[in-house]
Amino acid sequence: MLDIRQRTGYLFLAVLVGHVILISAQVQSRSGVRVLEAVTFGFFSRVQAVTSGGINGVRGAWGNYFALLDVREENERLRQQMAELEVRLHEQRALAARTSQLQELLDLQAATTLPTIAAQIIAGNPNPGVRTVTIDRGSSDGLQENMAVIAPGGVVGRVIGPLASRAARVQFLVHGSAAAGALIERTRVGGMIVGVNREPPLMLELISNLADVQVGDLVVASGVDGIYPTGFAIGTVVSARRGDGLYQDITVRPAVSFSALEEVLVVLVPARGVTPLGDPEGGR
């Protein structure tokens, strides 16, 4: 018969060993489908949607109680119109920036009419500080893994798996494991934008020390990753200084205010079979 204190120790040891095995298995095969994750996410996303719906219902009813129904609706409509117009503006600017040679090569019409679907953010990440959210659109709405997510300000992030039928997880571009192909709009110098866990939360890497980079330069998506639409704003250069090696140390402030995001647009164009830059699911 074991002493109770010894049994507690054994239990603790067993839990530790179990976790080490669990983590090791995942590190070796990250691409494998995790049943626990898929089932829990699918179930919990519905609970989150119901909770979010309930809270929004109460908030909406309370706000509209004070005879603000018409003003609120009109305001909402105008905001939606403004958001759509800003998205169109980004598309137009991207088109203007392209050379005539590229315009001949690409299907211009296809590039200007991005099919999108609006989605509402229904929950954040249960782990504090992790920059992913859950949206109320899923595989039944046509969403697929690695589809780009944008907002009127610019690029937000991408859809990461597994998808539920009516919910999906979005990894923000400012996530510590996120990355995307990017270029400086003024000089067309290309590099890679990565999320970092500090302020400002983005860094532009792989830009040569010889390249011309100025504070305030606009950084846009280059599209080389096959996920993010070309020309969409990512952010502006906050600082650029000569690095120790071949490349400059460039920090970028995002164009999108991630803390204030409520609704986003998912670009319904599947990724072009390119391995995404950064960690596919890296999170806390």
Binding site: I121, N125, N127
Partner: protein, 171 residues
Amino acid sequence: MRAAGVLAGLVLALLLQTTIAGMTMAGGALVNLVLVVVVFVALAYGAVAGLIAGMAGGLVQDALAGGIIGIGSLSKSVAGFLVGVLGAQFIVSQPLPRFVMFLGATAVHELCYQGLFALIEFRPFSLQYSTLAVQALINGVVGILAFQVVEGAPGLVERRRMRRASIRRRF
């Protein structure tokens, strides 16, 4: 009954945490409600309960968060177990020692969490001390309030009942 209460607490904490994080990303980083429940359970019911609550809460949190399942769970299991062991060795029935436990558990959890990530993802270990300090303080305040509510509510009902009975006897 006790297990159901712990389970309900964990589910409620997860729902609140995701709701807060959904409304404001910065706000979600300032409190870890699941950890608060784990420490609460460890202080109230001991090391084994803290260990199991940490494991269960952490696993669900990890599964919902995406990424590697087990890192948050392991961190919370360690924090819950240590708090349970220390809670059995020292008198932690007053708010101040409990507050210290919440602070310590948050620090242990974050160290363990970031350390494991640095180890697995081959990254340099980095800890945002200001965020950790704020989160530890908020976790501590929330935990102490939770103890006040859970321990105070039954007494309050009892006291009110006795007062009513004495008034009735007088008239």
